[in-house]
């Protein structure tokens, strides 16, 4: 791969009807739908699919299947999700997710997902944060369907298994570099290479689905896998397409202090609670009703307040404790076995005897490529939305938007399967009714090759590991749980310097076979795109809403900001986009003060 490869040669093109970039939950749910359609579909994944980050999801998939409570109602779930989003989740999409959810969950069960069970044989459901009955009036609900505390693992393996069954075409350990865009601004596929053999290809498709997950690795401390580098978003931003609500990053209340590993909210759902250095259950002060099961943004901020006010635990007073020992060994071993294992490995404590040291940790990207409920990506021209032909996005990479400013626990897995399924169905219909895109020219293809070529030809420049550290430190320092204008301005300036370095990386090792340094360099450039979109969006949204909490603008400002932010990567400016308040079957939920 030392030389520039002329990709336009015919033998370097692989052609598909639909190409899915990413082999996690959303990508494999999309591919499963398409595998049955007879369309020529391929999934390209930079890791073997079961290594995708969906595998780390623990607590469950939230859905009103009326198992724990026969009177449960998807409309209650919808209300909770709208409220959780701090009213900038799109209500048509939330309605679709909550009402279609049961079907999607039953399908998973039919595929073999080993859900935990109640005595009556139905799927086990546990309480999670932000859940209520009767539109917030009926107390805590138990709506999260679980396979012990390994739901993501069970879900991802089940989806992979069923893709094997249906004969899905996988290009495993292939890395997508950039989108190929034709003169009509349609997406016609991606440039990608086999990590193992170095073979570079133009993967041409009538529909390209970005299912590349989140980008938690823009932060120094995150629950995210090392592979969560926002590759899809990096590609869309470089292609000039916007990203929505990028300031909205969820900090999960319970990451293991020091290690970052996730400890599921299901722990608190099963009856665990947080305590400060005085042994006080402090969430009673911040959220008198929901307590430890308030929204994640609320709990995370409360924890940081406790730490800032000197009631943190440990010698550095820099974390709090999650207490579980009162639940007893039986509950912990049967309902939370994975947590027991993780705590022993990474915190050196046995939760049966001792509390787990935890701290809010970057966990989830609520923003992403704006899409409709069919996964079709939007862009903007003169203030008007238009569909990008050939481009789709699903899962954490997309912003459909069901999570708005703050995602509820258990809604991410539901998002993956509901919208993966919906995108698959839509692509099937669209392509079979003659939809598609025009060919890209050789110049278009060469342009998409340029990033890879530049890196391969680099003779001097910056070290990947150094630049990555600078990026992560910058984001951690200036764009964390609490944010302030002056610090963020400093952060944005620093990112300009980091961009300069990131565009001039030195790839010393030019070898072909499994060159992970090449992959990491390309990933770093994706992280930079996501970080910059995050930083500028966060700096410009001068209010506090959901996960975006500003010291200098502590109040929610519905007059100016009851809207999505839309980051334009070409101008590096932030625009606004209307939130959908027009669900189909129910009355819209109007914005209210949000308290738990």
């Amino acid at each position: 791969m030392n030389k520039v490869i002329n990709i336009s040669k015919k033998n370097n093109i692989k052609e598909f009807d639909a190409l899915i970039v990413g082999g996690g939950g959303s990508g494999m749910r999309t591919s499963l739908e398409l595998a049955k359609s007879g369309l020529n579909t391929a999934v390209i994944s930079k890791v073997f699919p079961t290594r995708s980050h969906t595998v780390s999801a623990q607590g469950g998939i939230t859905c009103a299947i009326q198992s724990a409570d026969p009177n449960d109602d998807w409309r209650w779930h919808m209300y909770d999700t709208v409220k959780g989003s701090d009213y900038i989740g799109d209500q048509d999409a939330i309605e679709y997710m909550c009402s279609e959810g049961p079907k999607a969950v039953y399908e998973l069960e039919h595929m073999g997902l080993p859900f935990s069970r109640f005595e009556n044989g139905r799927i086990y459901q546990r309480p999670f944060g932000g859940q209520s009955k009767d539109f917030g009036k009926g107390g805590q609900a138990a709506r999260t369907c679980a396979a012990a505390d390994r739901t993501g693992h069970a879900l991802l393996h089940t989806l992979y298994q069923n893709n094997v069954k249906e004969g899905t075409n996988f290009l495993n350990e292939w890395f997508a570099v950039d989108l190929v865009k034709n003169s009509k601004n349609e997406i016609t596929g991606v440039i990608a290479f086999s990590i193992e053999s170095g073979e570079v290809c133009y993967l041409k498709a009538q529909a390209t689905v970005l299912a590349t997950g989140g980008a938690g690795r823009i932060y120094a401390s995150t629950t995210n896998a090392l592979i969560n580098t926002g590759d899809g978003l990096g590609m869309t931003l470089r292609a000039g397409f916007p990203a929505q609500d990028m300031e909205m990053w969820q900090f999960h209340p319970t990451g293991i202090h020091g290690a970052g590993s996730l400890v599921t909210e299901g722990c608190r759902g099963e009856g665990g609670y947080l305590i400060n250095a005085d042994g006080e259950r402090f969430m009673e002060r911040y959220a008198p009703n929901a307590k430890d099961l308030a929204g994640r943004d609320v709990v995370a901020r409360s924890m940081v307040m406790e730490i800032l006010e000197g009631r943190g635990c440990g010698p550095e007073k820099d974390h709090v404790y999650l207490k579980l020992d009162h639940l007893g060994a039986d509950v912990l071993n049967s309902k939370l076995p994975g947590i027991c294992e993780l705590s022993k490995t990474f915190a050196h404590v046995d939760p049966i005897k001792e509390p787990i040291p935890v701290v809010p940790t970057c966990h989830y990207m609520m923003g992403g490529t704006p899409t409709n409920i069919h996964g079709q990506a939007f862009s903007r021209n003169d203030g008007n939305d238009f569909m990008v032909s050939g481009l789709f996005s699903v899962g954490e990479a997309a912003c459909v938007s069901v999570h708005g400013a703050n995602r509820l626990g258990g809604n991410s897995l539901l998002d993956l399967v509901v919208f993966g399924r919906a995108a698959g169905k839509h692509i099937n219909e669209e392509l079979k009714s003659g939809g598609g895109v025009e060919n890209a020219s050789n110049e278009d293809i060469e342009l998409a090759m340029s990033r890879l070529n530049k890196l391969n030809e680099s003779e001097s420049g910056y070290e990947v590991a150094d630049v990555k550290k600078q990026l992560q430190t910058c984001m951690q320092n200036y764009f964390g749980v609490f944010r302030r204008g002056e610090f963020m301005e400093k952060g944005v300036k620093e990112l300009e310097e980091i961009r300069e370095k990131s565009e001039n990386l030195y790839l010393k090792d030019k070898s072909i076979a499994f060159n992970t340094n090449r992959v990491e360099a390309l990933e770093l450039q994706n992280l930079l795109e996501v970080a910059e979109a995050t930083a500028i969006s966060a700096m410009m949204r001068d209010e506090s809403r959901g996960a975006h909490a500003r010291d200098d603008f502590p109040e929610r400002d519905d007059e100016n900001w009851l809207c999505h932010s839309l980051y334009d990567p070409v101008e590096k400016k932030l625009g606004k986009r209307d939130v959908n308040f027009v669900p189909k079957e129910v009355e819209a939920f109007p914005p209210k003060m949000r308290s738990y």
């Binding site: 890791v47 073997f48 079961t50 290594r51 995708s52 980050h53 595998v55 780390s56 299947i65 049961p102 969950v105 039953y106 069960e109 039919h110 595929m111 073999g112 080993p114 859900f115 935990s116 069970r117 109640f118 005595e119 009556n120 044989g121 139905r122 799927i123 396979a147 012990a148 390994r150 693992h153 069970a154 393996h157 089940t158 298994q161 069923n162 094997v164 069954k165 193992e196 896998a225 090392l226 592979i227 290690a259 590993s261 996730l262 994975g338 294992e341 993780l342 490995t345 990474f346 070290e463 990947v464 590991a465 010393k508 090792d509 070898s511 076979a513 499994f514 060159n515 992970t516 340094n517």
Partner: protein, 245 residues
């Protein structure tokens, strides 16, 4: 204090043969994981290659041979494996090496696919979920948690000898996961496909698989269950004896 790390290196474009390369690193004050150490080494020598993803023992990417024993680098603390101040890291044994610690897992995945690792049922799915009692669901514990890291199969001498014909502990654990699932109705067919002299019967109970499984699973026990189902049939399904006839 210094650690002496001996690392298996092989780059097919440069090296005629693989070799062990020594790295000296300052012993970290805290007890870190083997993966953290590898990441430190890679910061200085970016050419070192290995797979990694979740860094918490659930994705199964970073299986490798650590001081002679297979394990996941991300959940193996140095304190558990250091011999004196020495650490030797090699790729998982028995599979072709692509580069450094990265092996070609094709054979491993082919065995997994061979056992039809998906639920099969003759009955139309109901409108809601299929019911399963908690007791029946409990039978899947210790089976479904497999992360396909290949630590077990690549520590198994029978798999080394016959990776194309012996299914291996990882895939057999999954074969039993579906045999044990009350929702699956293809027990007879599944058993018939395992009844040849190689698929299951090459397991001689060496138990390396149990010894190395980073998730604490017991493929040997599952294989025993399969063998006994092959010999006696499953009572509830009145399965005829298959294999060994």
């Amino acid at each position: 204090m210094e650690l002496s790390v001996s690392l298996y290196r092989y780059n097919p474009e440069q090296d005629k043969f693989p070799y062990m390369k020594n790295y000296k690193v300052k012993k970290p004050e805290k007890d870190i994981m083997v993966l953290d150490l590898l990441n430190m080494l890679k910061e200085d020598d970016a050419t070192i290659s290995y797979r990694r993803s979740c860094r918490e023992g659930v994705c199964g990417s970073d299986g490798m041979n650590i001081n002679g024993k297979n394990g996941l680098a991300c959940i193996t603390p140095l304190s558990e494996v250091l011999k004196g101040n020495k650490l030797e890291l090699r790729p998982l044994p028995g599979l072709p090496v692509i580069r450094d610690l990265i092996v070609d897992m094709t054979q491993f995945y082919e065995q997994y696919e061979k056992i039809k690792p998906f639920l099969q049922s003759d009955s139309e799915p109901p409108e809601q979920e299929r019911l399963q009692s908690p007791q029946d669901r409990d039978k899947l514990d210790g089976l479904y948690e497999c992360i396909l890291c290949a630590c077990c199969s690549t520590s198994c001498p029978s798999f080394w000898w016959n990776p194309d014909k012996f299914v291996g502990p990882a895939a057999l654990l999954q074969a039993y996961r579906f045999l044990a699932d009350t929702r699956d109705t293809k027990k007879q067919e599944r058993l018939e496909e395992l009844g040849d002299p190689f698929s299951v019967y090459r397991c001689h109970g060496i138990m390396n698989c149990v010894n190395v499984c980073p998730k604490g699973l017991n493929p040997n026990k599952a294989i025993g269950e399969i063998k006994s189902m092959l010999l006696t049939g499953s009572k509830e399904d009145k399965i005829k004896v298959v294999g060994l006839e």
